[in-house]
Amino acid sequence: MDSNSVVSWPRLPENMDSFGLTQEHSEEVHVLAVDDSLVDRKVIERLLKILACKVTAVDSGLRALQLLGLLDEQKMPSETIVGLKVDLIITDYCMPEMTGYDLLKKIKESSTFKETPVVIMSSENVMPRIDRCLEEGAEDFIVKPVKLSDVKRLKDYMTTREVKGESQDREGNNYKRKLIDTSDVSPSSPPCISSSTLPSSPSLVDSTIRRLKMTSTE
């Protein structure tokens, strides 16, 4: 056993658990994950794959914009990747060259992807940063380290968007309909985050974000 590897298990190819997932599966949620840390990319990729999402993981905002066809030199329609379907973009905040916030802005400025939900991840529990991202149109903000419960919450959110797209006048699911309605409300005015009665202690950030989600499901 060499000193740099933990264990000498037989190495499996990285994409072994993604066989069977093809682009023809249009019902499958496709997530674009952006993080400069390889460790975090591996973790987020695994978390999403466990929830049966198709994942494309890139290491920078620039690479993400390139994939989405949003880089300035790609503005010509013929250079856009035809049929690229991205249902969710999840990005780290702290990245060299282009932060997650800058990436968020570029996505929200585009005509093609401005409706695509963008989620920001950060290891820093900083209220102003969270507010800034939500005001810029981020759907959610996850404090790292990312857990399965965080990603599950996003997946539920993705499902409701798909339901909205496919069946506009279905009457059954009031719960899901309510989620969709409140998610259309401008994220800059959620009642509890900007409420002055909440102390701005960093330790309350987690419960604040969760509370936003809870009140929108009443």
Binding site: S5, V6, W9, D17, V39, D40, K42, S123
Partner: protein
């Protein structure tokens, strides 16, 4: 009994290294399992690891059977580069660049549940904000120490797990004939 002898022929060289006589292998698997849990409990109690490490374990299954060791190998490789760079940057008094490296190390450490390493990174980062060279030097030494300790303990954990898997494989040869 015959089945055990047949399948163990292939594994004989590895079995010899565990030092366990064949008849004890059934007991061996349970003892090793207990050892592993004892070490894990110790590491949690000492605050070396936190629940994020357990989250990693939960992400490992038949579809991704080596997930934990793959992630940890990447972590070790990246961390060692970062630590080497940090020492160089400290000599050059490059506090801003050190902060960037520390953010990276902090992020990946917290993602694998390395709580003590993460905490030292936080303290180290504070020292860079004050451009406190002595404080940074001390923090770097602590960081290197904590990282080495973590790596050694995780190696130990995986060695026990590897032995346990080998031994469990011999105990139930019918299930492992296709390996």
């Amino acid at each position: 009994m015959n089945k055990i002898w047949l399948s163990s022929g292939v594994l004989n060289s590895q079995l010899a290294k565990t030092g366990l006589p064949l008849w004890m292998l059934g007991l061996g698997a349970d003892l090793l399992w207990a050892d592993m849990n004892r070490l894990l409990a110790f590491l949690f109690h000492q605050g070396v690891l936190d629940e994020q490490f357990l989250q990693l374990q939960q992400l490992q299954d038949e579809a991704s059977p080596n997930f934990v060791s793959e992630v940890l190998n990447i972590y070790f490789h990246e961390s060692e580069k970062l630590l080497t760079n940090l020492r160089g940057l400290l000599m050059e008094r490059e506090y801003k660049k050190m902060e960037i490296h520390l953010n990276q190390l902090m992020g990946s450490s917290s993602s694998i549940g390395a709580k003590r390493v993460t905490n030292v990174c936080v303290a180290f980062r504070a020292a860079t904000h004050h451009t406190n060279r002595a404080g940074c030097l001390h923090a770097l030494e602590m960081l290197e120490h904590e990282y080495c300790y973590l790596k050694n303990k995780l190696h130990e954990l995986f060695q026990i797990e590897q032995q346990r898997a080998l031994v469990a494989g011999v105990r139930y040869p019918e299930q492992n004939q296709n390996q």
